[in-house]
């Protein structure tokens, strides 16, 4: 018997048909739809096609969800109200289960999938959203697609795919205190570059990955696309199974055990080979903060802003010089000396309960010196945080405590910064204008963002808060 990778196992389980030219027709077990699915539904309508398996799609309002009210009448921009209405109308017409604005399980699609047990090991999962690799953290083959492929999925429950190359990143040792999965993913993206993973599926493995909670694993896989790779995955283990025990299962013990026996086979065999493989020493990592306008621009909090003048390639040099100009920064400035105007804690990268616990803990009884906003990744996360009293900690420190949604990650609901503002953000993209025209976004972990809220600048929390 020859050795195969986790990716190969997931792939071959879902191969409906091999075609010599078109590739593999992959069966899709679960499709998650948010407001952006509107284009896909109109494509279907134009062709007179029906949703083939409405039972395998779940629809969620997240990108345009207002975070101050669950009343759609409060959404003041007509086109935003309209796109939320259209998701509901499309779901209803097709018979798709909808988690609308007021639903107690509402949340960001990549937070609620695992949370509700919609995401399980061994599945194929797609969503019209580039951060779908998040679900790979549960041992699923999950990838982001565009509107035409969403339409293809709705119409056929399949997609034609060609097998990507495979990469394994082994993270040895253990992360230091206050160095998180977010720092690990920012380190991976910095090492590979924003396009370095293009064409690959990335499996994360090694002791530091195994030691991560499910929340941490989701954060790690979430940003895989920021290195260009559409797939990120982690072999499911006891941590995954414990997380899923009460979420993905209501049958008898015997069936659960049979399920577990199958899930336990979902790992790369000992002799499995990868097209590319490298190791990272977890203990060498510091909390990371980005300085530029690409997620690849991360450096340790104890570093200075690099000088792009030394970059040989002209196109790359010019892009980095433009990034620094946009960010209003100069080479050589210490990261710890950057002054901030605003803080956003949330998103599908860092809007889970563990993230909110870390942020609340970092406040340490201090008060916010700049506007800071906490947006839980789901209403369930919000409820859990409130049971633990985290909302009180945030509110007492002068942070805003909002309702769940994508919010300032992409600002589609209108939660935006002002031009020129510098924002400490736990989201995944620091692109030009992502958080509002002219807003300067720095990516980081939740405890760092909370620290900035109460001090105004980054602090090496891995040194001060042992």
């Amino acid at each position: 018997m020859y050795s195969t990778t986790l990716f190969d196992k997931l792939w071959s389980r879902h191969a409906v048909k091999e075609h010599p030219v078109a590739g593999t027709l992959l069966y899709i077990d679960r499709h998650l739809a948010h407001e952006g699915s509107r284009n896909a539904f109109s494509l279907l309508r134009r062709r007179g096609l029906k949703v083939r398996r409405p039972d395998l799609t779940t629809a969620i309002v997240d990108h345009y969800a207002p975070t101050t009210s669950r009343d759609i009448a409060q959404v003041d921009v007509a086109s935003r109200r309209q796109i939320i209405h259209e998701l509901a109308a499309n779901a209803e017409e097709a018979g798709i289960h909808l988690l609308d604005l007021a639903h107690p399980s509402q949340g960001i699609v990549h937070v609620i999938g695992p949370e509700l047990g919609l995401t399980r090991p061994g599945m194929t999962i797609v969503c019209g959203d580039s951060h779908t690799a998040t679900h790979g953290a549960m041992g699923a083959l999950a990838f982001g697609i565009g509107a035409s492929q969403v339409a293809h999925t709705l119409a056929t429950q399949t997609l034609w795919q060609k097998k990507p190359k495979q990469m394994r990143i082994v993270v040895n040792g253990q992360l230091r205190p206050h160095v998180t999965a977010k720092d690990l993913t920012l380190a991976v993206v910095a090492r590979l570059g924003a396009g370095g993973g293009t064409g690959y599926a990335i499996e994360y493995a090694g002791p530091a990955v195994e030691a991560l909670s499910v929340e941490g694993r989701l954060t790690l896989c979430n940003m895989t696309i920021e290195a260009g790779a559409r797939f990120g995955l982690i072999a499911p283990d006891q941590t995954t199974f414990d997380y899923l025990r009460d979420r993905a299962f209501d049958g008898d013990e015997e069936t659960w055990q049979a399920q577990l026996n199958d899930w336990r086979t979902l790992r790369s065999d000992a002799g499995a080979t990868f097209d590319t493989e490298f190791e990272i020493d977890a203990a060498s990592l510091k909390p990371i903060i980005t300085w530029g306008t690409s997620p690849e621009d991360g450096v340790g909090v104890d570093c200075v802003i690099p000088d792009p003048a030394t970059i040989e390639d002209a196109s790359r040099r010019n892009s980095k010089i433009a990034a620094l100009a946009y960010m209003g920064l100069t080479p050589g400035t210490a990261i710890e000396d950057i002054r901030f105007d605003r803080v956003f804690i949330g998103s599908c990268t860092n809007g889970r309960i563990e993230d909110l616990r870390a942020a609340a803990q970092a406040i340490g009884g201090r008060k916010a010196v700049i506007p800071a906003m906490v947006v839980p990744g789901s209403m369930a996360v919000k409820a859990q945080a409130e049971r633990e009293g985290l909302d009180r900690i945030f509110l007492d420190a002068g942070f805003e405590w909002r309702l769940s949604g994508c919010s300032m990650c992409a600002g589609m609901n209108g939660d935006l910064g002002r031009p020129g503002e510098r924002c400490a953000s736990t989201s995944n993209r620091n692109f030009v204008g992502r958080q509002g025209a002219g807003v300067r976004t720095h990516l980081m972990n939740p405890a760092m963002a909370a620290t900035i809220a109460v001090t105004g600048h980054p602090v090496d929390i891995s040194e001060t808060q042992r």
Binding site: V16, K17, H19, V21, A22, G23, L25, Y27, E35, G36, N39, S42, R47, L49, Y64, V77, S79, R80, G128, D129, S130, G144, I145, G146, A147, S148, Q149, H152, A155, T156, Q157, T158, W160, K162, A194, G195, T198, G199, I225, G228, A229, R230, S294, E296, A314, S315, R316, N318, S319, A322, A410, G411, M412, R429, F431, V432, G433, R434, A437, G438
Partner: protein, 197 residues
């Protein structure tokens, strides 16, 4: 999808690397319908300042490149968000082809299914094309998809790679959903096999 076979036009030398889909079509316009046109929003923040006045010093607003149908960019063009609107927006400003050193995966797929041709070539060739277009903005570029060749004036010519299936679909305007529908029996059989017995 409309077939894509041959095309000749002028080019817009954008250069730049890591042009993400948020720059191609900013998120704040995504609640608007593509049917109503995205031309005004394509590269919005690279073309206009906060007051809506055109920015100078970029080929995107230069008269010299008006009417271009080829866009020439650096590495990792179309990275980031999966929004297919980015492809519609590029089409709505009249573009038909992007030549870049590399592409974001999802953008690349989105382009192909919309009959918009993404052409990948090496960094040296990109630099030559950019130089040529900067010196001679009206230079004609010609692409022949069947032959997988591009010529920029007579000065730069090169071959490019494209997936055989995607090429077939582009040349013949094949709609992938229609193609897949011919495999419905295979899909049904698969579903019968995996459903709990």
């Amino acid at each position: 999808m409309n077939p894509f076979t041959l095309h000749t036009g002028t080019g817009l030398p954008l250069g730049l690397e890591n042009v993400d889909t948020d720059q191609i079509l900013p998120a704040r316009f995504l609640s608007l319908k593509p049917e109503d046109g995205y031309a005004d929003y394509c590269f919005r923040d690279l073309r206009f300042d906060a007051d809506g006045l055109p920015l100078t010093g970029t080929p995107l607003t230069s008269d010299a490149y008006a009417g271009a149908t080829f866009l020439v960019a650096g590495s990792n063009f179309g990275c980031g968000s999966s929004r297919e609107g980015a492809v519609y927006a590029l089409q709505h400003i009249g573009l038909r082809v992007v030549i870049a050193e590399s592409f974001g995966d999802i953008f690349y797929q989105n382009a192909l299914v919309n009959g918009f041709l993404p052409i990948q070539t090496d960094g040296e060739t990109i630099r030559q094309i950019l130089t040529q277009l900067q010196a001679h903005p009206r230079t004609l570029i010609h692409v022949d998809l069947e032959a997988q060749t591009v010529s920029v004036d007579e000065s730069v010519t090169f071959n490019f790679q494209i997936d055989t299936f995607k090429k077939h679909c582009l040349l013949n305007g094949v709609d992938e959903i229609g193609f897949t529908m011919s495999f419905l029996n295979d899909i049904r059989r698969y579903e019968a096999d995996i459903s709990p017995k």
